[in-house]
Symmetry: C2
Subunit: 143 residues, 2 copies
């Protein structure tokens, strides 16, 4: 099912780290929160428990693989995981590396910024993430 009003259905202008038949993994470029990534289900599904059980496991394995890859690459102070999509219900899971100097630490990323942060991703980050995810999740389709 596709909803043309839904940005996650359209899936344009995404910086993809991995892409498959059922879901993709994208890098979100949010100032002060570089490294923020998402697992986005390809079809317009509302809740993870709407999926057949094997696909629920696949979605969660992707989230765990993404957490492992972000920890290995960035060594964040904390990882945040969130599946919200309250206003536009298309299943996607945020995996967000948190650092003591990020704009809202230790509060949730959705709160107003308490400070600015100039953190940038290390050189080659996206390529190494792609390799790590391919190793954990299998070959990626066309990104």
């Amino acid at each position: 099912m596709t909803d043309l009003a839904c940005a996650h259905c359209r899936g344009t202008n995404e910086d993809r780290l991995w892409s498959g038949d059922l879901y993709r993994v994208v890098l979100v470029h949010e100032t002060g929160f570089e490294g923020w990534a998402r697992v986005i289900w390809n079809t317009h599904v509302t809740e993870i428990t709407d999926l057949p059980a094997p696909q629920q496991s696949m979605a969660l394995q992707a989230v765990l693989a993404l957490e492992r890859a972000l920890r290995a690459e960035l060594a964040p102070d904390k990882i945040n995981i969130a599946s919200l999509a309250t206003g536009m219900p298309h299943l996607h899971v945020h995996v967000i590396p948190r650092f003591r100097d990020d704009p809202t630490f230790p509060e949730p990323v959705w709160l107003p910024a308490q400070r600015s942060s100039a953190r940038v991703l290390p050189e080659g980050f996206a390529d190494r993430m792609k390799s790590r995810l391919a190793e954990e999740l299998g070959l990626s389709g066309p990104l």
Copy 2:
């Protein structure tokens, strides 16, 4: 490992729906968000990927069971799942039923309230949740 400064290590004054050797499920009584529940790991673990793989699966199966039970009992407009614990890193996962008239809908629950909400849980809710979780997760220990 236990950290006496950590409320989730102490685990006092909790309204428990399920309790086992590795984790428990508790009901949070947050005004306007009744039905908000948490899976709390019993030991002071920072990230889900710090757990051995079988325990990662157990934690996630508990989250899915909790989502299914909340959907069956409350038919919310949306479910939010979040594992944050940014300031006090003790693994716990929020499973939050969202309703169009809740205080922050469609924004995250951590944002300022836009309205008040007098939603109350249906009679017998906690008992039915306990039964559903026992059926899905096995027998509970002493609550």
